[in-house]
């Protein structure tokens, strides 16, 4: 197996080692050549710190990082030449034009003089910025800055691209363009290291996902296998309505949570989701409960865990303190009082 990144016992303490704050705690993982690797975790989990170490912006307190076969502590130069970095904030020079930003980065990454202009033109076309090439970036929207930031990160055609929270707060067009580009680069052989707290993004884009919490890796696997491994967060989703005309009751939630085997009940619009270890055993109980309380079952389905369920389970966050949610491609949930 060829690895693009090998991380061994990586540790980072902010401040003095004896009295500082531990941000990354003996983390070990590998990223395979050519995969999209998601680094998922809540804010403050150690994601960005790890990424800053991998991109040489920080020195680790302990441990070892090998990228493309080069030990980062001893031989970072060849790694830097093949690496692109898109940080969380679009770090573009607002007083320069889009074109000047690209040309400066091309010079910085030693792109051959004869190729700079052609590459810059191509990237401006790809990211829909060709018409704004001579506009100062201070006049750009957030999405346009983000696209330019990514174009700057790939003008030297890196074989390893680090993306830190690439899409939050962006319009659909920019999000789509960025995800397409990541897929395209990956098809062409680049390895992508995607740091995100957006579970759905990791689910859609990543071959494998590492979940980090409190500076430690909690799990690494494919999104599907992670979900399957967490059968304890399976659920049954049911929509109920009274047989006689009356308003749906909030009291139903308490009654449903009292059913044997139900761990948590979450109200999702007009539906209730019941988390359980054993959906098959719960179904007949649920039917009997509805019959006994004069309720009609409008719809009933069993659900495998979403990546968000897995994430919350692993990171020790409670499910069930939910008031409502929106539905997209998969189950989602917003925690009351959470971020």
């Amino acid at each position: 197996m060829t690895y693009a990144i090998e991380v061994e016992n990586l540790t980072k303490v902010y401040g003095r080692p004896e009295s500082g704050v531990l941000a990354v705690d003996h983390v070990s993982f590998e990223v395979r050549q050519g995969e999209v690797f998601g680094f998922l975790g809540p804010n403050g989990a150690g994601k960005t710190t790890t990424q800053r170490i991998l991109t040489t912006l920080l020195d680790p307190t302990g441990g070892r990082v090998v990228i493309h076969g080069h030990d980062l502590a001893r031989d970072a130069y060849p790694v830097k030449r093949r690496t692109g970095l898109v940080p969380e904030e679009s770090n573009v020079y607002t007083e320069l034009t889009a074109w000047d930003n690209l040309m400066f980065t091309a010079r910085l990454y030693l792109v051959p003089r004869a190729e700079r202009a052609a590459r810059a033109r191509g990237l401006l076309e790809t990211f829909g910025l060709a018409e704004q090439r001579d506009v100062k970036v201070v006049n750009f929207s957030k999405g346009m800055r983000r696209r330019l930031s990514i174009a700057m990160a790939i003008i030297h055609r890196p074989t390893l691209l680090f993306l830190d929270e690439p899409t939050p707060g962006l319009d659909a067009q920019s999000t789509h363009a960025i995800r397409d580009l990541v897929r395209q680069m990956n098809v062409e052989g680049a390895t992508i290291f995607l740091t995100t707290h957006q579970i759905e993004e990791a689910n859609q884009m990543c071959d494998r996902v590492a979940i980090i919490n409190h500076g430690q890796i909690a799990a690494i696997d494919t999104p599907e296998r992670l979900k399957a491994a967490f059968s304890r967060v399976q659920s049954v989703e049911v929509a109920l309505e009274p047989r006689e005309r009356s308003e749906p009751s909030q009291e139903w939630g308490n009654a449903l949570s009292a059913l044997p085997g139900v761990k948590t009940v979450v109200k999702l619009g007009d539906k209730w989701r019941l988390y359980t270890d054993d959906p098959a055993a719960l179904l007949p109980l649920l039917m009997r409960h509805a019959e006994g309380h004069g309720l009609r079952v409008v719809s009933l389905s069993t659900l495998l865990p979403s990546l968000e369920d897995v994430f919350l389970e692993i990171t020790g966050q409670q499910v069930g303190t939910v008031h409502h949610e929106t539905r997209g491609d998969g189950p989602r949930r917003r925690r009351a009082g959470g971020e």
Binding site: V13, G15, L57, D59, E95, L96, R107, L108, L110, M152
Partner: protein, 257 residues
């Protein structure tokens, strides 16, 4: 192997140049640069020279030393914190170049600003005050070398291990606290020849003393110290400040800033 090494050196020089050109374009009109780099040295000069009988040549030599010192040393404490706040500094740190190359690029920026600002009093002096320069070649070397050394001096403050949220003013404060005493103990306002022995010893602690003495050699044709000693010390100071700034960068990376 030798070709590879030479190519790497050429690449790094090209990168330093790219950083310098970019900084000149981005930062030349920022408020802190205008205030601390352009206006301050002129205010200082007039504050300490008006109503004192100072010859035009002496005044020009003094003003050149002041402008190189203040203008060049203002760039680092302004530009690096601004870039840290906007995140653009990470772009430079992640690029395939050494820290010394990056710092060299930043040094060139301050030196460029200082050299340009120095031209103003020099041209005014030559055209309107009939100032004569004893050694034009030495003056050119002196202005450029002093600007480089003082620009690197400013980088030391810009490189202090601080959070990326630190404001420009918070970096300017310590740099001002150090630069002003260095100005007053130097031989700019009181010539070394007129100083008491104790004051002279203190003056030798200020890098500005050697720049002023070299300016005197170049403009007046006479200085207190040997001109070669002044030149050598400015080169040593340039290298020392660059290495100190690089060490501070390394420390920042270790501490996590």
């Amino acid at each position: 192997m030798k070709d590879e090494w030479l190519q790497r050196v050429l690449d790094e020089l090209a990168q330093a140049w790219a950083v310098a050109i970019k900084d000149v374009r981005v930062y030349y009109l920022t408020a802190p640069m205008i205030m601390f780099g352009l206006l301050l040295p002129f205010f200082l000069f007039f504050s300490f020279s008006i109503k004192r009988e100072v010859g035009a040549e002496v005044g020009i030599a003094r003003l050149l030393a002041l402008t190189t010192f203040f203008t060049a040393s203002s760039a680092g404490p302004v530009i690096i914190p601004m870039e840290r706040r906007t995140g653009t500094y990470d772009r430079l740190l992640a690029a395939p170049m050494s820290r010394i190359t990056l710092l060299l690029g930043k040094t060139l920026v301050g030196a460029f600003f200082a050299t340009m600002v120095s031209l103003v009093p020099l041209v005014v002096g030559l055209l309107f005050l009939q100032v004569t320069v004893a050694d034009a070649g030495l003056l050119a070397i002196c202005v450029v070398l002093a600007s480089l050394a003082f620009s690197a001096f400013g980088l030391v403050f810009g490189s202090m291990p601080t959070s990326s949220a630190t404001a420009v003013g918070s970096i300017m404060m310590p740099s001002t606290l150090v630069r002003w005493p260095l100005l007053f103990i130097s031989g700019v306002f009181v010539p070394l020849t007129e100083m008491a022995p104790a004051a002279q010893m203190a003056a030798y602690l200020s890098p500005l003393t050697y720049a002023q003495d070299l300016m005197n050699h170049a403009v007046l044709g006479d200085g207190y110290l040997n001109r070669w000693l002044d030149l050598a010390l400015l080169v040593v100071l340039l290298a020392t400040f660059l290495l100190l700034a690089a060490w501070m960068h390394r420390r920042s990376r270790r501490l996590g800033y």
